[in-house]
Subunit: 276 residues, 2 copies
């Protein structure tokens, strides 16, 4: 059986084309398209991520604005900064970098985001819409998983998808998006007892558990489709949640690196132009 | 093996005691506790439900207010009525009866509810909170399912729960609440292919599919716990989604009638006093 490697690059490229067209059309009609990134303090990981996003915005002709608040900023000050961006018609997307320093209530910051400018589903109103089956603006990573499956024409209707992980940012939203596509969905996590047995039943495995090589060959039904959301830093480089030997049993899988992560960043840009 | 019949009555009674105490304490400190029920038009089912709720409010010393808009009311008029109730400090809970007449945008009405007065999780902000693991104010029926399981001390951690049905009002929220209690959760629905095989794996079955006697004995693992949310009107009376023969294989089950439904109405009253 041949195994399809679901590379992220062509998926990302297809989205980038669409996004560029939207940006150009907006600019021609005099409308600005800008991603605002809000940082509080000096978290190095946030700055690495911001740098990567700024590179993509630039390549797509999307404007950017970096708002930097001091490490000592209060919740009120952070919310006020969000409100200012909400009201700015040039700003089409706002990403507050999480986690924030301890004294800042991250939930309050998320809830303050104008839902239509909320890039990563931090406002509960967008989470609620997702729950009610209007998941168009779920967070970027779950949307990237779905974009991969759709680009590579993986049949979803009636398939049994097993999601490993139940985080608010990946596991739960991707489970809802799969449900919306008529998958039967099982969510497994650290308390799951017969995990290998359950994963073996999956037509589609979504691994978002954050453990290098967690999914072993014995857990994979021959011919299953594997979406690997894991990004684990190891001595031998970045690896996914799925062991390489396990992907050999799949009919299709997303590689790590070069898979979901690549698409996820482009989904952020897709969100920036969503109302344009 | 003895089968535990998880009757709704003692669960409802235990909640009623708590609610009464809260209402009395509120009244002693001069605070009003009122459920406002908003109807648009003359849907008979809504009036039957309202009558039942009014009877319970009265029995618990909770005040009530019925707001009736004509069949021809617009979305704007309905939202305006909601806003007025939002601002009224005497009103602690608001229930707009769904479905509304066609010209009224039910989603807009739900979104207009003050989240803290939203009795049945119609405001997406409450749905989003549920998705993020803060499911204290999920809709009444899913909360009633959990209340049953807790009252009868059914172990949940690490158990495999299979939910039949994926509605916004029961299936999806109860799946999230079970996940929050560390269940492994599978959601099955009309597109599920190997449904009997999946249900047979369940330690806990939640049937919310709306089909009389849908769950047959061959689908039930001996000793499973069954929560039957179905209320199906048949020639022989009201029956659940689970065939009586199937409950015989269970270690515990909720009867229909007299099970989840009884608790669900009391959960509404619990929601009315939630901020008291």
């Amino acid at each position: 059986m041949e195994t399809l490697v679901m590379s992220g690059r062509p998926v990302a490229d297809a989205y980038k084309e669409q996004i560029k067209e939207k940006v150009e059309a907006a600019q021609q009609s005099g409308k600005k398209v800008t991603l605002a990134i809000l940082t509080v303090g000096q978290d190095p990981a946030s700055f690495v991520y911001r740098k990567r996003l700024l590179k993509i915005t630039e390549s797509l002709g999307i404007g950017s604005r970096c708002v930097e608040l001091p490490e000592t900023a209060t919740t009120e000050e952070t919310v006020a900064a969000i409100r200012k961006l909400n009201e700015d018609p040039d700003v089409t997307g706002i990403l507050p970098m999480m986690p924030m320093p301890k004294q800042v209530d991250g939930d309050a910051v998320g809830a303050a985001l104008a839902p239509e400018k909320d890039m990563d589903c931090l406002n509960p109103a967008n989470g609620g819409a997702l729950l009610m089956g209007k998941g168009r603006w779920a967070a970027c990573t779950p949307r990237a998983c779905m974009a991969m499956l759709k680009f590579y024409k993986i049949p979803l209707d009636g398939k049994h998808a097993v999601v490993l992980g139940r985080s608010n940012v990946v596991g739960k939203p991707v489970a809802l998006l799969l449900l919306q596509e008529n998958c039967t969905v099982t969510v497994c996590h650290s308390h799951t007892k017969n995990l290998p047995e359950l994963v073996r039943q999956a037509d589609i495995v979504v691994a978002a558990i954050g453990k290098a090589g967690f999914v072993t060959p014995d857990m994979v039904k021959p011919g299953a489709v594997i979406v690997d959301v894991g990004i684990n830093v190891t001595e031998t480089g970045i690896v996914g949640d799925v062991a390489p030997e396990a992907t050999e049993k799949a009919s299709a899988f997303t590689p790590v690196p070069g898979g979901v992560g690549v698409v996820s960043n482009v989904m952020m840009m897709d969100a920036v132009v969503r109302n344009v």
